[in-house]
Symmetry: C2
Subunit: 379 residues, 2 copies
């Protein structure tokens, strides 16, 4: 297999983009990635997206976006793995280039979530959980994660306030990212006094929805010696329903995909300088850090308390705001994460730039830990 | 790139499977393919499906089906390209094995369409057309194809009755397929007197929806020297909206993907012994035959009139009923087609078996000719 490099990066701000259709939004990010790579033609387009058929009445989004970009004739398809859709599209783009069949693949993640009534968007999001055995019982996605957080606090003796460093760091970093949905810092008091949304979870434990698109242009590394390279890539699944897991506090699919990616890359957690993780909920940030080997079981929260997750810490996370402050347009998130790691490794992350980075990791999660995709990049 | 072989084939009958959920239906076909290949573990599962998030309230279907099959831990993702979803999943499975990264990939196409009210299913199907510029004008999918058929009849001087050989052949062949939704032959009078659904199209010009799943197990050809091999595979797109095309009577994406596949395989139309085409509507059968080089422009209908499409003809099509009689569970169809060609090449197509076959082709279409995937197989 050939090594693959990221030649182009594009993203739109995460906003309520009521003036743009889903294909226009995707095309904006795609065009930016093509321009960044100085290419105007690719062999294929893979679009990560969860719900355009429900929320924008448009299926076959791969072809719709290729059409919008004027890339008539190319291969195009949509990949869906709930909130892990964009990471999954990245995997397929990588395989297509690595296989030798394709020399340039554009991958775009996009989600348009604010054009419909809130309950319609919530109903679409609920389809990421197990329809037959979770959703049919009336539980929401927030509720599922709240149960996991409750159990974690009980098991390891934490208070709600102990989780504050995650959203505080994310919001502080979001201030430095012009594409972030929220560019305001928050403090401990704001976090703790925000309204309860599903006990013990409060508003600032959850990431916000939004409209956005992010794109990458992938080429063989041999053709772009200066570009950031993908040195590890893996995807793994767990049971769809949280209650079917041996241990609901352990992200087995994160462990599996991270360790496969480590092996491919020939690195370990100690070599990772920056980690864009899937902080859809504060509890998920803690669990990801543990499953990927940055903390012992039950110690993920301590990395926050010790400051290790800050930009100047041992393992900076959510460096451009994360899902929490950049925003979580679900089917786009996985590519925002990889785009952000790429910009950090390039040294072009603007006010959020962290110096001296060599190796970065991005991890995208679909469902409540059901589908987890990990990528490791190196400059 | 490594050559890829089809080691296992599985399919469910196309029916109204009200007793099965979408993941159960998919798992039935997947389990059959695993059993046929005598394997119980694969590296990845790619699921082709269009609308499970709308019609069964279940997104992240790749992981849901992996879970149902007990294949915990493996990589899984859903691919969507409207009615071309299963062919697109096949493409990705092929690339994953060809790349050398994976040694066994299960691809499953599935659609569950009869659990909801008809208008809900119709609304889901409409998302395959251009939401912004076609559907918003009130046109249906049947209506779009009726306009194309009308234009074809006007341009080349055909009558509605001239298209009869397509459904007559499909229904006659469906009688020999126990998995077919319709196992009754029809005659010219039944075809011509069936009710008008969108002028000039009558009921028997359109394929029926249904619930069904088909699956293939892909491995490197070197590990299965006796198995049917995939010698050509390509996917191409056109404009999403029919009105944006230079010539609405020419399937440019069919021509492009077929010719790429011919080139890879080192064959031409004269070498193809059997062709499972996408006869969602009679007009599409004629247009596919023309675009793939089996007939001159405007002459596709004549292949029907001359009997060339019959089991004993020059280029047999819809040999197990096609979309018209086997049924069209949209996201599953592309894999039913490849499964059927595989069975024919193996010599295990039962009463529908055609003798002396060496090379077969399958072509899957998403939208009104917007996304077209072609595969060429050889024993």
């Amino acid at each position: 297999m050939r090594e693959v490099a990221i030649l182009g990066v594009g993203q739109t701000p995460v906003r309520e983009h009521w003036e743009l259709s889903v294909r226009q939004l995707a095309a904006m990010a795609g065009r930016a990635a093509l321009d960044d790579a100085d290419l105007d033609r690719v062999d294929a387009l893979y679009v990560g997206n969860m719900s355009s058929d429900r929320l924008s009445k448009q299926a076959n989004l791969g072809t719709a976006v290729a059409d919008q970009l004027g890339l008539w004739g190319i291969e195009a398809v949509k990949m869906e793995a709930a909130c892990g859709s964009a990471g999954s599209a990245m995997r397929q783009g990588l395989l297509a280039v690595a296989s030798g069949e394709m020399n340039a693949v554009l991958v775009i993640g996009v989600e348009k979530m604010t054009d419909t009534l809130g309950r319609e968007t919530s109903a679409a999001l609920a389809t990421a959980a197990d329809a037959d055995y979770e959703v049919s019982q009336g539980i929401t996605f927030v509720g599922l994660n709240a149960l996991v957080m409750q159990r974690y606090m009980h098991e390891y003796g934490y208070q709600h306030s102990d989780f504050a460093p995650f959203p505080l760091n994310a919001h502080a970093n979001g201030v430095k990212n012009p594409n972030a949905l929220f560019q305001q810092a928050i403090n401990q008091k704001i976090y703790e006094s925000s309204r309860l949304i599903a006990e013990p979870m409060r508003l600032y434990d959850a990431s916000p929805i939004g409209d956005g698109a992010a794109a990458l242009l992938l080429v063989p590394a041999a053709k772009a010696p200066q570009a950031v390279r993908v040195i590890g890539s893996a995807s793994a699944t767990d049971t769809l329903a949280v209650h079917d897991r041996h241990d609901p506090l352990w992200l087995a699919a994160a462990e599996k995909s991270a360790h496969q990616a480590y092996r491919q890359a020939g690195v370990g957690p100690d070599d990772i300088d920056i980690f864009e993780l899937h902080d859809a909920f504060t509890i998920m940030a803690a669990l990801s850090l543990e499953a990927c080997g940055f903390a012992e079981r039950g110690e993920g929260v301590r990395l926050g308390q010790e400051g290790a997750i800050l930009p100047n810490g041992r393992i900076p996370i959510s460096t451009l705001g994360g899902l929490k402050a950049r925003g979580h347009p679900v089917g786009a998130t996985g590519l925002y994460q990889i785009a952000e790691v790429t910009l950090q490794l390039r040294g072009t992350a603007g006010a959020a730039q962290i110096d001296g980075l060599k190796t970065g990791m991005a991890q995208n999660i679909g469902g409540s830990g059901a589908t987890i995709v990990t990528h490791i990049l190196q400059k």
